[in-house]
Symmetry: C2
């Protein structure tokens, strides 16, 4: 089954936007994710509606963050995308009259529901700032590069 990669892509782009004081155009964002500018605008539209990003037209236009990284949880981003289906598997008939099938549905829904709540709780607890912090920690461990002094 084909994956929905919008969530992953948006997180990536948001972090790049945070790294920049200037607005970034859809074209440049599309290059970051090896994708298409129209698709960027289409997907980002939900984030704009949620106040996560802002967009500007014309010269000097493009996309900027709508609020600081620590005020954007992964759950915010996920919800802004319309809360896409989390699972690739699902029940075949949601309202069967067959009691056997109802029992199967109940069992699956219990398990998947619990997993979904776990994911939701995790997404709420992680902000873009957390990921940025982890990113900085990783970069500190890399071999010397011109920008950073050596560390432990």
């Amino acid at each position: 089954m084909k994956h929905d990669t919008r969530f992953s892509a948006m997180l990536h782009l948001l972090l790049h936007m945070a790294d920049r004081n200037q607005p970034i155009t859809s074209d440049e964002l599309a290059r970051y994710m090896a994708g298409n500018a129209a698709a960027v605008r289409r997907t980002m539209a939900g984030l704009r509606a949620a106040g996560i990003v802002r967009s500007g037209k014309g010269h000097g236009g493009g996309w900027t963050l709508g609020r600081p990284l620590q005020a954007i949880s992964l759950a915010d981003v996920y919800a802004a995308l319309g809360t896409p289906d989390l699972f690739a598997i699902g029940i075949r008939n949601p309202a069967p009259s067959c009691l056997v099938e109802r029992a199967v549905n109940a069992s699956m829904q219990e398990t998947l529901g619990e997993a979904e709540r776990l994911v939701q709780a995790r997404l709420q607890s992680i902000t873009l700032a957390s990921i940025a912090a982890e990113l900085r920690a990783r970069m500190a461990k890399l071999p010397l590069n011109p920008k950073e002094p050596h560390d432990a």
Copy 2:
């Protein structure tokens, strides 16, 4: 995103097979799940390879359970289907050179991985016998009622 309903469908069919001493034909199973006999055979093929079901040709042929309900965990069934993708969402680029994207991937994989382990543990702990037991408990609560037909 379209759901993969094979897991749900197979659980349903397996429980019906347990209710019957006789083999059930693909045609009848297809009616249970409002589906197609060839699709039943195709999907059930994996379960047969795993020893969960047996099939017989010709007169009196059809599908029977390969072992008792308590010896079939939901994880067995899931694995027999080829361990289909659990999540509808995924990372856009599994091996990016961009460090930002790597950090995003790591974060998502951590969360989804944990949820997947939870689901896997649950599926291992639930057997078809557990579901059948819950089903019997539900039926005991119903008003007395002669047999009901199945729906489509």
